[in-house]
């Protein structure tokens, strides 16, 4: 008898762990019980796939700030369907494998209502199949042509930022009319550069122009001088879209090659996102033109919406952080996070979204959207969403480097950016 009493009184390691486990479970009981019993008051969880590390880190930092500001605005105005928005951010390392894992985490561990915020195209490509299989609405902010090309699935949408095909196409009329019709293109020799090569070549030819030479630069290149002799002498415009850390070298060497007598230059700001246009070595760019998704510098005709958006995110009139003038924003892209979150909000409100069972209704509600007026929800400008292709279209901006600032020279119409549908996602089942 004594023996049995002793035996029962001994605390084994397994017994202690069991007790601790039960205790820990009991401690969390009120939390999950509250959400289970009052689903309608639980926050709406938005999984934010953010490039915190890897090649997209500079973009990720600003996507993060913009998303935080947009969520704050939505919550300050009462949330979505009376529920607060909770942003669950997770680093994807700008890597397609990790991106897919993060999407799985959103869907099956955090039980997010939607996934959101991916920029780099290869991460979108790697993640979208899993989002489709897990039936998680996946709102990308990438500007890739992947969504509208039909390569992805019904659960993947890009309603808050225009795609590269429409951007490039809309530049051709301005280039042909104002800068010249004989173009030499310099671009990185991978998919992003190839998109520019293919779309712009077709667009400039439609304007009666021609591309005299395509100069593809290998992605590992660090010096560019040996490529410049390939530029034909009768080139009127150089179209450049270099990206990555070598861009400063590229511009410097281009300046040394041409000296004071250069052809017109037209580039995509992707080259210089998060880079101060006043950086040493970029003086050569003075007087040249850039595509901007959203003008980095506050313009003379700045809208009240851009003013409020800038203040909310913490960007000054020069496109730098309010707290650090050397921290330059990725202003041409990050508005997409702000606008996409507002579209998710409208979609959830239109569909009466209550939980994951309503995900299909949410997608149908977004597919039903079309014109979106210039507003605080859309500070970059008006949009026209195509529910069939899951892609939005909008105004594009062309700015000229003047005294170290980017000054607006031209705004395209939405019509300039349209092209025939290449897919109808609404025919795919859920």
């Amino acid at each position: 008898m004594t023996k049995s009493v002793k035996s029962g009184a001994v605390t084994t390691r397994r017994g202690a762990l069991k007790t601790l486990g039960i205790g820990a479970g009991a401690a969390t009981l009120p939390l999950w019980a509250r959400y289970a019993d009052a689903q309608s008051s639980a926050p709406i969880k938005i999984g934010f796939q953010v490039h915190r590390t890897g090649i997209g880190a500079a973009y990720g930092r600003w996507y993060d700030r913009t998303t935080t500001a947009a969520a704050k605005m939505i919550n300050d105005n009462g949330g979505i369907n009376g529920r607060m928005v909770e942003i669950i951010a997770e680093d994807d390392g700008t890597d397609p494998k990790r991106g897919a894992e993060v999407v799985e985490k959103f869907a099956t561990q955090y039980n997010c209502d939607v996934g959101f915020g991916t920029l780099f195209s290869h991460v979108v490509f790697g993640s979208a199949p899993r989002a489709g299989e897990l039936k998680l609405p996946y709102f990308v902010v990438s500007e890739g042509h992947h969504v509208a090309s039909g390569a992805l699935n019904r659960y993947t949408l890009q309603p808050g930022i225009t795609d590269v095909k429409s951007q490039v196409q809309a530049m051709a009329p301005f280039v042909a009319s104002n800068l010249g019709k004989k173009v030499t293109m310099i671009f990185p020799d991978f998919a992003f550069g190839h998109d520019h090569r293919d779309f712009f070549t077709a667009a400039i030819e439609a304007q009666g122009g021609q591309v005299l030479e395509h100069i593809a630069i290998p992605p590992t290149e660090t010096s560019f001088t040996r490529y410049f002799p390939k530029i034909p002498r009768d080139t009127e415009v150089i179209y450049h879209v270099m990206v990555g850390p070598a861009v400063l070298t590229f511009v410097k060497e281009l300046g040394e090659f041409f000296g004071p007598s250069r052809p017109e230059l037209f580039g995509f700001i992707d080259s210089l996102e998060a880079v101060d246009i006043g950086s040493a070595g970029l003086e050569f760019l003075d007087g040249t033109y850039f595509w901007e998704g959203n003008p980095r510098y506050a313009q003379e005709n700045q809208s009240e919406f851009d003013k409020a958006y800038r203040a909310a995110v913490g960007v000054d009139d020069n496109g730098a952080s309010l707290s650090d003038s050397k921290d330059i924003a990725t202003y041409s892209h990050m508005f997409g996070c702000w606008e996409t979150l507002n579209i998710i909000k409208r979609g959830m409100e239109a569909s009466g979204y209550a939980g994951p069972d309503d995900r299909a209704s949410l997608i149908e509600a977004v597919e039903a959207m079309s014109d979106m007026p210039h507003s605080l929800e859309h500070p970059q400008g008006a949009k026209r969403f195509n529910g069939k292709t899951h892609q939005t279209f909008g105004h594009q901006y062309i700015t000229r480097v003047t005294d170290g600032k980017l000054i607006l020279a031209h705004t395209t119409s939405i019509e300039d950016t349209l092209y025939p549908d290449e897919v109808d996602y609404t025919t795919q089942s859920f």
């Binding site: 997770e90 680093d91 799985e104 099956t108 195209s121 490509f125 299989e133 998919a191 992003f192």
Partner: protein, 314 residues
């Protein structure tokens, strides 16, 4: 109990446990484990060359990517069935391994590492260069209807898990079988003392080439299966970091142990997954843990177990 019986019990037991976990794991970990098993198969391939033959490759991503693109391009442009596409991926890896092995094995030590690194970089740039077909850095999606193998939809989580388990089981058992065969013993002999093995009359070059081909073939098969199960083919998988990953997994788990690649892959996957949920500096945590493991368990996790407790571990 003999060492062989213990070994069969241990590895068979692991496969039974993995089979059983299918029914109890929460959805998130269920998906993770499927992915880990495919990546562990890649690490098993790497271990054949590094752990058992003593050849340190810094370019193994080329085999993984060759399998992935062999499968993906077969489906995309030749409308191959998934089964045929998997064979195409395997064939692509074996052919590449034959060519690379034939050339790279003329070097040893650091030179071998650099040559394999250069070959892998050349393949990576080739994928980018032929972007018209490969879609370069973006890659392309293998759509769900293209992933139905003999009527089995591989995009379904249960089917995916079993397919990953099947691949892992085959690779594990091949690895186990290999090192217990004479040819496997010769590979270990080459690792321990190449000149002594040569003096015993073994054809070193032929055995090394066989090791490169077995290793490359397993890695390519893992790449092909990865693309098919997760629906994506991309150049990132041919980049340097995907050559470093299997080295880390094998070093962590235990080079030259059959179970090491799986343990290392599992450990590393959850180390990154858990730390990234805690802090943005998750790579710092991963780095500190890796340094600690390297300092205090120099033979890797399974290697330390073998050294301290179970000397019979293969």
């Amino acid at each position: 109990m003999t060492a062989v019986r213990k070994s069969l019990l241990l590895h068979g037991g692991l496969l039974i446990v993995l089979f059983g976990l299918q029914f109890v794991l929460p959805a998130y970990h269920h998906g993770n484990l499927a992915r880990i098993m495919v990546l562990a198969s890649y690490a098993i391939g790497y271990n054949v060359l590094f752990g058992y033959t003593g050849l340190l490759s810094l370019g193994h991503a080329m085999f993984f990517a060759a399998g992935m693109y062999g499968m993906g391009l077969g489906i995309r442009f030749l409308e191959m069935s998934p089964a045929l596409a998997l064979l195409a991926g395997l064939a692509a890896g074996l052919i590449l391994a034959l060519v690379v092995g034939y050339l790279a094995l003329r070097t040893v030590g650091v030179a071998f590492m650099i040559v394999t690194l250069m070959f892998a970089q050349a393949l990576f740039l080739t994928i980018l260069y032929f972007g018209k077909w490969t879609r370069g850095d973006e890659g392309f999606v293998i759509q769900q209807p293209e992933r139905v193998l003999w009527g089995i939809d591989l995009s379904d989580p249960v089917n995916r898990y079993f397919a990953a388990l099947l691949l892992f089981a085959v690779c594990l058992l091949v690895s186990l079988w290999l090192i217990q065969r004479p040819v496997g013993r010769v590979l270990i002999a080459i690792r321990e003392n190449q000149e002594r093995a040569r003096m015993l009359g073994y054809d070193i070059f032929a055995h090394k080439l066989a090791a490169v081909m077995i290793s490359g073939g397993i890695s390519a098969l893992a790449g092909a299966v990865y693309g098919l199960l997760f629906g994506y083919v991309g150049a990132t998988f041919a980049s340097v970091q995907y050559s470093i990953f299997p080295l880390l997994w094998v070093l962590l788990g235990g080079a030259g142990t059959v179970l090491g690649p799986f343990v290392g892959t599992l450990f590393m996957f959850y180390l990154i997954d858990l730390s990234s949920a805690l802090t943005t500096a998750h790579m710092l945590i991963a780095g500190v843990v890796l340094v600690a493991v390297t300092l205090f368990a120099q033979q890797g996790i399974v290697g330390e177990l073998r050294r301290r407790f179970w000397r019979w571990l293969p």
